[in-house]
């Protein structure tokens, strides 16, 4: 993809007519600019302009909605009409009588479902109006929602397995604040969804809507082998596996089938701890683009997520004990837009990667910083944490804390992102002259706290963090627009 402005390549006589914007003089001998298109090949679909006209979801949405209603009705009551009571229990006998009964009931249900599906599809309209995304729902009772695009926190394209078959995609637009602050487009055609995403991102960044999608550069791809290995190489997983094998061995040796009752929950826990992350993050790819970090992942339900650097609030580098031998790390993140369950679903920036890659990514998320180079001061030893406390350090841009003996966790928050600074000291801590400094981020998986610091030092940390936050905010007045 070339630069959007400037002369197109191959400009001049003897070449094809310019495809770009028709600025400048027409060269002599060039064919007329507004000629017929070349007759061979199907003409490419014109790009959709969401700012012109009114747009609807994909028509297949109506079919999917209707089908789901029919399936639910069938499961709830429809199938029982096909079952006939016989002398020895019930049987599925397709007699004309039962078929007629079934059709008589299911036909109106299907008709109503089709009508409702069509109605819900018809009632949702959206368009981009200036700096706002406008979504209208309802025909009888109109509901008009205007979303200022400068407030958009993230735009995700999600493709559940069922909709992948139909070539559909769901677009989710996240805003800061509240569980209601999400707008879903369920479902759009795949290319339309990606165009909508590109246009929303471009407009949120203050560019004209027809700006081509920002090019991206592949950054890191997580292979299936390393993902699987990393999920296995965790102390809880190995412990659960050992327990499971021991239970099975016990059951076989002593011919005691009762242990299966204990083994089953362990197996379920293993499935949750190993299989679920595999399905969730399988095929993980991260790419860099000017509008942020693009993540694509998921085996069955694929997600495409764009994380703009300006919206990342805090990151955590996690190094479990068994990963350290391989130099692996995992990267979690708090993004302001996601709330509740979505926060958990979209909190992983890298499921597993070499340590230096993870730290490089932290440097990209908080530009101009190096989290590894920040000198960390260990907290004093005390019997509150006999194995040594964490450590904390700061430079002008970021505040870094390290915690965990077995599983190293390094939390990083940019001073410019800090919402407030708190010092707390419980009764035990005060007895030992200790206090904990929190640098607060919006709710999310990553919360930064320097635990059990000496109280005088803790107060000094509070004052310095508040001062640095003030200076960083004064220097950093760019977060009003997306990623600019």
């Amino acid at each position: 993809m070339g630069p959007p402005y400037g002369p197109p390549p191959g400009y001049g006589p003897g070449h094809d007519p310019p495809q770009g914007p028709p600025y400048g003089p027409v060269p002599y001998g060039a064919p007329p600019r507004y000629g017929a298109p070349p007759p061979y090949g199907p003409p490419p679909k014109p790009p959709v302009h969401f700012s012109v006209g009114v747009h609807r979801l994909h028509v297949a949405t109506a079919v999917i909605n209707a089908l789901s209603v029919v399936v639910i009705m069938f499961v709830v009551g429809g199938y029982s009409l096909l079952i006939t009571q016989t002398a020895d229990g019930v049987a599925l006998l397709l007699t004309p009588q039962s078929l007629a009964r079934f059709v008589l009931v299911m036909l109106p249900v299907t008709a109503v479902a089709a009508l409702v599906g069509f109605w819900t599809w018809w009632s949702v309209k959206f368009r981009i109006d200036g700096d706002d995304l406008v979504v209208e729902t309802g025909i009888m009772r109109r509901r008009n929602r205007r979303i200022p695009l400068s407030r958009v926190q993230a735009v995700d394209v999600v493709r559940p397995l069922v909709t992948r078959i139909f070539g559909l995609a769901e677009v989710r637009v996240e805003l800061a604040g509240g569980d209601q602050a999400e707008t879903k487009f369920r479902y759009l055609g795949r290319s339309m969804g990606e165009q909508l995403r590109a246009e929303l991102l471009a407009r949120a960044a203050g560019l004209p809507g027809h700006t081509p999608e920002a090019p991206e550069r592949p950054y890191w791809r997580v292979g299936f082998g390393s993902l699987f290995g990393s999920q296995l190489l965790k102390l809880p997983v190995i412990g659960a596996l050992t327990l499971f094998v021991a239970l099975l061995a016990f059951g076989v040796v002593y011919r005691e089938p009762g242990v299966l009752a204990a083994a089953l929950p362990v197996l379920l826990g293993l499935a949750r701890g190993v299989i679920a992350p595999l399905l969730m993050h399988g095929g993980f790819k991260a790419a860099l683009s000017p509008d942020g970090l693009r993540l694509r992942y998921g085996l069955f339900e694929t997600r495409m997520q764009t994380v703009p650097p300006g919206r990342v609030q805090a990151v955590r580098v996690i190094e479990p004990l068994l990963w350290r031998g391989y130099g692996w790390a995992r990267l979690d993140v708090t993004v302001a837009g996601y709330v509740g369950e979505r926060q958990v679903l979209s909190s992983v920036l890298l499921p597993v990667a070499p340590r230096h890659i993870a730290f490089q990514l932290v440097g990209l998320v908080f530009p101009g910083t190096n989290a590894e180079a920040v000198p960390l001061l260990p907290a004093p030893r005390s019997w509150l944490a006999p194995f040594g406390n964490g450590a904390a350090g700061t430079d002008d841009a970021i505040f870094v804390t390290r915690r965990g003996r077995m599983c190293h966790r390094l939390d990083v928050i940019a001073h410019a992102r800090a919402q407030s600074v708190r010092l707390t000291a419980g009764p035990l801590q005060r007895l030992l002259n200790l206090g904990t400094v929190h640098v607060d981020a919006p709710p999310g998986p990553v919360q930064v706290a320097a635990e059990n610091r000496e109280l005088g030092e803790a107060r000094a940390i509070v004052e310095s963090a508040a001062g640095r936050a003030h200076r960083a905010r004064a220097a950093d007045q760019r977060t009003d627009r997306w990623a600019t």
């Binding site: 919402q419 407030s420 005088g456 803790a458």
Partner: protein, 218 residues
């Protein structure tokens, strides 16, 4: 630090020596129009007022060159009345059940336990009241509170999403209100209870104004 506190039950609303929230001569009712300028000395966030190795209490001292603005002593009474309102139904129900099960002695023991708990609640109410304090700096608001777990919160004005003033029934009867600052972080619990209602309205307006002029995105 505790020496400078007033003794409980002094007639004046705010302890002597504490910076007044309302400027001198200002009418006690909140007014529309231009807000009165902040009377607080607003020093920049400077070095810590506490030397390294200082005592535990010193870490929660006011920023250097400032003193904590105190809340109204009526906060103590708010808490004490709340304790009594909780204790009353507990006493009646517990005494009834215990005297039926054990006899008069059980009821009396229950009564004694409740009285001891109430006395402790009354003492703690005073201690908690004394722990509240806040200071408005040039760029951030500091709030300290807590008797068992001590807290010190520094909230930059630019991070405020909104400020609200609430007053429950008991608070309304006592003529006090709670000012609460909301930021995008749920953990930021910056609230100032027990402000006289008119002061609370003025403080809210001033904080909102400061937040507006320094507002930034997330």
């Amino acid at each position: 630090m505790n020496e400078s506190y007033p003794t409980a039950g002094e007639p004046q609303d705010m302890p002597p020596g504490s910076p007044r929230i309302l400027p001198h001569g200002a009418p006690p009712v909140p007014q529309r129009g231009p807000l009165p300028p902040a009377p607080m000395s607003s020093g920049p966030s400077g070095p810590s007022p506490v030397p390294l190795g200082g005592r535990a209490e010193q870490a929660f001292d006011p920023p250097s060159g400032m003193t904590w603005a105190r809340v109204s002593p009526r906060l103590t009474w708010h808490r004490r009345i709340a304790v009594l309102l909780w204790a009353l139904p507990l006493t009646i129900a517990g005494a009834f059940v215990l005297s039926r099960m054990i006899g008069l002695l059980g009821g009396l023991i229950w009564l004694a336990a409740i009285i001891v708990a109430c006395a402790m609640g009354w003492i703690v109410a005073e201690l908690v009241y004394r722990s509240w304090g806040f200071a408005e700096r040039a760029d951030d608001l500091l709030v300290t509170h807590g008797f068992f777990i001590k807290h010190l919160v520094v909230v930059p004005y630019g991070r405020m999403q909104y400020v609200d003033v609430t007053a429950g029934l008991l608070e309304q009867w006592l003529g006090v209100a709670t000012v609460r600052l909301h930021t995008a972080a749920a953990a930021t619990d910056a609230r100032i209870p027990g402000l006289p209602a008119s002061d609370a309205a003025v403080l809210r307006d001033r904080l909102a104004q400061k937040g507006e002029s320094r507002s930034i995105g997330l």
